[in-house]
Each structure stands twice: as C-alpha cells, then as structure tokens.
Amino acid sequence: MHENRSTPARVWLLAALALAAAVVVIIGPALFDRFTLNVLTRSMIYAMLAVTVDILWGYTGILTFGQAAFFGTGAYASAMVLSHLGASPALMVLALALAIIVPVLLGAFVGWLSFGHGSTPLYATVISLVVPIVVTQLVFSGGVWTGSSSGLVGYSGLPLGLPGYFRLTGICLIVTTVVALVFTRSDAGKLLVAIRDNEARCAYLGLNPQRLKIVLTTILAGVAGIAGFLYANASGVVAPENTGFVFGTEIVIWTALGGRGTIIGPVIGAIGIDYLSAQLSGDLPFLWNLVVGALFVVMIILLPNGLAQLARMVLPRRNEEQASPSGSPTLAAEPAGNGSEAGNRVLAVSGLGKSFGSLQVLQGIDLDVHPGELVSLVGPNGAGKTTLLRCLSDGTEATTGTVTIAGQDISGMTPDEIVALGVGRKFQVASVFDSLTVADCLRMARASRNAPSLLRRSATLGLPAAATDILRSTGLDRMLLGRPVSLLSHGQKQSLELAMVVALEPKLILLDEPTAGLTKVERTTIGATLQKLTGELGFAAILVEHDLDFVRDISTRIVVLHQGKLVLDGSVDQVVNSEVVRTIYSGGAHA
C-alpha cells in the first residue's frame, strides 16, 4: 500500500531493456535495407497482436482466434475513412478514433456473448472463431465500400515514409510490451492468472471473473484496432485475409512458439517467425510452412509453454523474488470490518427446496443463524449437505423457498454478489490458485475490497488479524513467496483456503468438511481457529462435517439433515443424545 522503498532492480532492468529496444528502433532505418524495414514493420505490428493474445490466452486462459477480427476491423475502419473521405489531419484523427472505437464496441459485444454466467472456455473459443468469419463475410459483402475480395488500396496514409513507419510501429510495440509486462506482473495482473487457475474460486472471493474477462476482451480489442490502424497506414493495403480466422490461428501459433504467458516470448515469436517466413518463403514456401506447422505440433505436445520454457530450462533460473531482500511482503493489519451486531439474524432460510428434474434433493428447509454461532450440519452421505451450502452461496441454485442473508433475499444473485453480502465459502477440496504464491492468493481474497494496483507489486499485504492468525498458527506466514501454492501440502492448502475466506471478512462462513484428510494436529488447529472466529470475533459459521467428535467439541448448535429434510436442530447435547440421530447413523430409519 505504502510504496516508500527504493525502486526494485527489475524495474531498472525493464527500463534498460525498453531503452535499448527504443535505440534499436530509432537507428534501425540506418541499419536495415528497405525490404527488411518493410518486413520488420509488419512483423512488429503482428507482435503487438501476439501480446494481446498472450494476455488473453497465456495469462487468462482464453484461447482466442478473434484478435484477427478486431485487427481487421481497425484496419478496415482506417482504410475506409482514408479511401472514401480523404487523409487530411482531421480525417486521420477520425480514422484512428474509429480504428479504436469500432473494435472496442465489437469487443464488448463479443465479450458479452462469450462470457455469460456459466459459459464454458470452449464456447469462448467457438465465438472467437465465428467472429473473424463473420467480419470477413461482411467485408466481402461490402462492395465498393470495403473493396470486397480485392480489399482497399491506393489511399494515402500518414506521410511518414518507410523509416518513419518503422520507428512509429517500433515505439508502439515497445509501449505495448512494457505496459503488458508491468500489468501482468502487478497485483491486478495476478487476477488474470487467478481466473485461469480457478474461476469458481474467483467468484467465491467476491470477484466477477466474467465481467473482468469482458473488460479485458474490450480493451485488447482496442489495442488490436490500433495495430490495425498502423497496418492500414504502413502497408497501404487492407485485404480480407487480414481479418480472417486463419490469420487468427497464425497469431496463436506465434504466441505458442514464443512461449505463452511470458509477453516477451510471443513478441520474439511473432517477429522471428514472420521475418523468417518473409525471408525464406520466397525460396521454399511449402517446406517453410511445413516446418512451422510441425514445430507447432511438437511444441504444443512437448513444450506447451513454448521456447521461453526451453530457455528457462537451459538458463539457470534466478529467483529474483527470494534474492532481493525487500521481496517478501510484510503482513499489515487491516482495521477490523464492522462486526455484525449480535442478535440480528445473519442467515434466514425458509421453505428452501432444490430438485434435479423429478429428484427432490432438498425440501422444506428452515434455518436461522445468528452472529457468533458455529452451526454444524451433519447427516449421512447424500443427505443434501453440500447442496444446501451451494443454495446458500449461489442464488440461482434453489428451486423453491427463500434465502435471506443480512436481511437481503439472494434469489437470482450470482456468487460474487452474495460474497459482497458477507458470505465466504470454503470448498471440500481445497480451492486455491495453484500457480500463484500464498501472498498472491491472499491478495486475491482482498481484491474485492482493496482494488489491486495495475502497476505495482505491493510490498505489504493487508489482512485482517483473524486471517493473519491462521497463517501464523499454520506456519504459512513463512511461505508467503517463492513457490506456487501447488507445492503446498494438503493441510496447508486447506488452511490457506480458510485464511483466504476469512480475509474476506465475511459475516457468515460456509465450510464443507474442512478437516477431511488432515492430521490430528491440523484438525485441532482448525477447530481452535473456528472457535475463535465465532466465539471471540463474532463471525457466524456453518460447518459440514462427518467427524461427530470434532463437531461435538466445537459447535454451538447442530443441525441434522436426512434425505433432503431437516430432521433436528438443537444444542450439542440435545442432538448427540437424540434417538433420531442414532437411528439415522446406524442406517435404519426413514425419518
């Protein structure tokens, strides 16, 4: 939050690299012949596209062929203005504006189409295939306006000359790359990886991954549009091929070969492959495409992270984060949120029912939970415990009845909206972000409260005391950085997820078998933590648990679920000594 430290080494490194690249770009026209300049200008425009594909695919996990469509739209918007209206400075500005606005609008629409609630990654890819095809057909049907199959030529562009275009594109590429590098390495950039790793968890941390994806698609469509504007000016030709899905696949190939998820890799991949293909394809066109195609297949199978991965394997990896003394963020205490006033109900459920077709999984559930209560939900397998938790955390799940959280009816609300009401949910299988560090996972949990920086990696990690306590008691506070969460033990992941949920400062925590598969010591720790959260800090919690001894030790109240109905709701003693419970657990009666 408070960035008073001296600028880290990696910032200097980035600045130095950018400066070096800028120098090459500025003096380039003196070094290269005309043909090379021409080819490199085009390659650098393509590299900008590769960067956008890398952010979408490499970081966020959205495989897209659609950037070609946005690029083509931008190029056509510019070329149409320049062809049909003219190239005066004012019209040039108009061309640039349209080259951004039209793709942005299209991008927003495509994003809305691709990322509805519950749409699959494959569907987004499908849409990204359809969009370029549609745009290409629109170009074909545009008659003289778009030049149809012939494209548009012969308009005048920016009066820059070849060296000027080379420098302009070079600078644009450097800016794009630096912005992308800074963004993807910032706290906000980690959000993209979080979405790729575990979209459901993002939603249950109060984030709206679908909306973030739409925003990302929209912005990157605009960047592709700028690249299109540059292309239309620098090349003097726009053709239907520039918008097609085959071109879209080419960008993905460059990105894949360069190394997805590295920004620099795709830039090098795009420039290298396009430049080489311009040099070689004249002499051996088929062989060249054959080699690129074969290399691509081998790469996808054996080295999914591209040449960058190979480079990383060959070069000894220097872990800058552990090497730098200022690397590890300090845990900072966040002021405790407004604790819920005792007495008011946090949760009120009445007449809740859920059915899958004719199968009634839950029916007639009534349940109230107050602050400070630790309610355990018990019952045999298939009683509907997990389904009940799902109905409490996703307003689109329940079939009948109402669920009210902090006085608000949640029907129809998405998980992230319900999180905003103060519900945190911990899943049965630890749901964390596998490729992030412990610190970044926790930062994601705070992202809905403290908007993460788009530029910086914060040196502090602000957490509520309750979450910090969990980290201290499990030793996670010493593993904040350095390695991805996927390397943690099973118990550590469970504790981390609990800490993430607690970091949300929820009024109500839903826990689905948090102790499954844990050691005795770990169970005790979690049990103590839960008791402290509810007893001392005023959280309410609903715990699904099989271990009756554990439940007896920590609960304030126990609810018994059997065959989709709530059969008992009472104090620990009442329930433990109840005849009904004994019959159910011995497997006999039908309540």
């Binding site: 189409l113 085959v246 088929f286 054959l290 690129v292 199978i301």
Partner: protein
C-alpha cells in the same frame, strides 16, 4: 420444390462432412481441427484412384482405409497426450492440418485436381430436373447415419464407446480398455472424414486447401449436436435449411455464415445445444 430439395440435399452434405468430426467429439470430447485436412486426404485419394485408372467408386473404401490408418497414427502420436488439455488438442490438430496440407502440396502440387464424376446428370423429381448426385448424397448420408447407429448400438465397440461417453472411470473399472476404444473411435472418425472428402469431389474442386472451407461449418454443427447422430441430423436440417433460405432470398454471401452465426447464438442460449432437446 427445388427449394425443398436444396434444403434436404444441403443438409445431407453437411451431415456427411460433419459425421467424422462428431464421432470423435462425441466420444473423446476432443475437437479434431485437422478434420479439414482429412477431407482433403479423402479427396486426393479419389484423385489417386483415378490416376491409377481404377473405378472411381473404389475411392470410397480406399479413402476410408487411408483416413483411418493415418488417424490411428495421429491418435497414438499427437492426440493421446492431449486428452487432458482439450484446448491444446485443438491447436495441435490445427498444426497437423497445416502439415498435412503442405505435404499434399509437395506431393501433388498446389493446383486444382480433377476427378471423374461419380454420378452425373439429372433426374426428374415431381417434374423438376434435379442433380442426381445431390440426391445420391441424401442416400449416402442416410447410410452413414444408419451404419453409425448400428455401430454404436449393435456392436461391442459401440457399447464400450457409449460407456466411455457416460463415465470413463466407471468404464475403465468395468474392464473396458478405454485406450483402445479411443483409438478405434478416432480411426472411425478420421476414416469417415476421408470418405466425406471423396463424396465432396463431384461438388467442389480438389486442391490442398479445400478442407478448411468445410471445417468451421461442421465444427459448429457438432458443437450444437453434442454427441448424438440424430441431433446432428436435426441440426443439419435446421441450419442447412436456414443457409439455403438465406442464400436464396437474402444473399449467398450471408448464406455462407448462416450456419456459424445461428449455431453460436443457439449455444449462447442453450450451452448444451440440441443435446437436451
């Protein structure tokens, strides 16, 4: 009348082209983006058959065999490591498609090839002269559909494949060699694709890139159809019909994207496509 025939025959052609892709997607949940390349392989089998002076109809079994064998090799080498990475499988098979296209170009050259017509001329249907071959395509589509239904319902392989579709872990627990089922399915799918390539030759020119034009349409239809041949047939009729209507009454240029756009919209509204209907 002609319009109706156009709709039915267009649907039949779409069905023939998409069948191989569906077989693979339905069982393996993998999208074979080299599907277009297999159509091309099939068409070049027809060229080669004609070049050897054989009866053009012989191209059908030859293409099926060649397609299946190449498909088998592909499954073992390329697809097998990617079942857990379906998006990467799209990319790898697309790359394979590029490679196949270039190999065909190196072998046959890049110009358009010609094949003898399987059936030529027209027949009178209710007083309208209509292309005999297009009518034959309807029969071919029916045969492929029925043969496949038989394969799924009536054979050991088919039943195993169904088990794999429903629950792969369970299938494996029941002692089904899922790896072999996958291999066999992929071979059948690619064999069908190559067969479709031969059936396309009387309608289009044969060149190294001919398959790409058909890829997206069949891909979209398969996404909508899910894993069943009957839903694929319905999808082909509905969207093929829409394509013919748009081409006839609006613009043939928009006709070309009708299938893709409508399928995308259907999937937006109902992510499982026709599979639930």
């Amino acid at each position: 009348m002609t319009l109706l025939l156009d709709v039915v025959t267009t649907a039949a052609i779409l069905f023939i082209v998409a069948a191989g892709l569906l077989a693979i997607f339905g069982v393996l949940k993998i999208i074979n983006f080299a599907h277009g390349a297999w159509l091309t392989i099939g068409a070049y089998c027809a060229v080669a058959t004609a070049g050897l002076g054989l009866n053009p109809w012989l191209a059908l079994p030859i293409a099926f065999a060649v397609g299946a064998i190449l498909g088998g090799i592909t499954e073992l080498v390329i697809v097998r490591p990617l079942y857990r990475r379906p998006l990467d499988a799209i990319l790898a098979t697309w790359g394979l498609g590029i490679v196949i296209g270039q190999l065909i170009t190196l072998w046959f050259g890049r110009d358009v090839q010609f094949t003898p017509n399987l059936l030529s001329g027209t027949v009178d249907v209710f007083g309208v002269g209509y292309s005999l071959y297009r009518l034959f395509a309807v029969a071919a589509a029916l045969v492929i559909g029925l043969a496949f239904t038989f394969l799924l319902e009536g054979t050991r392989l088919g039943l195993s494949a169904q088990a794999v579709i429903m629950n792969e872990m369970l299938a494996r627990a029941l002692g089904i060699d899922t790896a072999r089922v996958r291999l066999a399915t992929f071979m059948v799918g690619t064999g069908l694709a190559a067969l479709a390539g031969v059936l396309l030759t009387p309608l289009t020119s044969v060149d190294p890139n001919m398959g790409v034009a058909w890829l997206i349409g069949s891909f979209m239809l398969v996404m909508v159809a899910g894993s069943s041949f009957s839903t694929l047939a319905i999808a082909c009729l509905v969207f093929g019909g829409a394509q013919v209507l748009v081409s006839t009454f609006v613009s043939p240029i928009f006709g070309g994207i009708t299938v893709a756009v409508l399928c995308a919209l259907v999937l937006r509204i109902s992510p499982k496509g026709f599979a639930r209907a």
